[in-house]
Symmetry: C2
Subunit: 200 residues, 2 copies
Amino acid sequence: MTTMKEHKTNVNGKSHKGVGSDRYEVRLSGSGGHGVILACVMLAQAIGLDPHRNVVQTQSYGPEARGGASRADLVVAKGDIFYPKTMKLDLLLAFTQEACDKYYQDLKPTGLLIVDSTMVTKVPTKNSYGFPFLRLAREKVGHPMVANVIALGVITELTGIASREAIKSVVKARAPRGTEEKNLKALQVGFDLAKQMRRR
Amino acid sequence: MTTMKEHKTNVNGKSHKGVGSDRYEVRLSGSGGHGVILACVMLAQAIGLDPHRNVVQTQSYGPEARGGASRADLVVAKGDIFYPKTMKLDLLLAFTQEACDKYYQDLKPTGLLIVDSTMVTKVPTKNSYGFPFLRLAREKVGHPMVANVIALGVITELTGIASREAIKSVVKARAPRGTEEKNLKALQVGFDLAKQMRRR
């Protein structure tokens, strides 16, 4: 297992505080069926393979969490995580306009917003990345359910929050039997998307 | 959706503080492959269908969480949950001896311990329930992977932490395609086990 290094993502010319900083907060959001909870569980597990990181992964259910938007959070730190709930997000992934509208306020001004570009047409900031995750899942992998795994590929590649090897091993282990190849292909689609984006 | 009532479980003559109390903490533990995280996500989601409950579901990864034992926690309360990490457990499920040995110290003295009776042979208290979840999954459902769902059936039936309807709908929705019936059957096996136990 490689040790992750501090990684600075340059979002439209604005430096994004990377995961090497002491506390890094992530939220994956969408609606039911987008698999954001499973994606967040997998991401947390992959990060947790690094012996130098602690991770707490949470989802909340209650009045504030009900309604159409579904979400899952994680906090990663080098040291102990005393307060495991997210406070101000460093990274927000939104698969839907509703999730974007609802959670954008929780993102730090320097935070990284990643949206599904087909679903989220009103983006509240210029500091964002848009990818057609859901469309690519259908067209490139032939399976709309793997949009979440494409997003995991993008997130790990852009931020270095987990190593490629770590996220691959977790995605492979958690994929329902018979879908391992499709899930690994989806992950690769995500890696490639992020690499193209960084080359611009 | 029925509103859940306070439910007191009588464990070997000792009253167990039920889920009607303001804060109730649950940990599901085992080793990788027992599906404790997915089970905890499903339980949290089922509880969250009750508009009178708030739930935070967490898993931690880091030095303390590494090693063989896998775990997932949830906290349920009627009011706001300011501290989402578990402090003292009201209910601990242990699928393995290692998980039982590791986490029993986190259980309240009046807490409810539920173990896999085939796997956990050294039980640290008389206040416990033992069920052969893994064996029953193979023998009654024909699928060792559903032991976690049998345990969900037992837990919901024993504690009333979620309604039968709520846990059924969540298990059905989250079951991989084609396994819905096996998962619902596993849940019913769990309901029946708990009912038999309460009749003693």
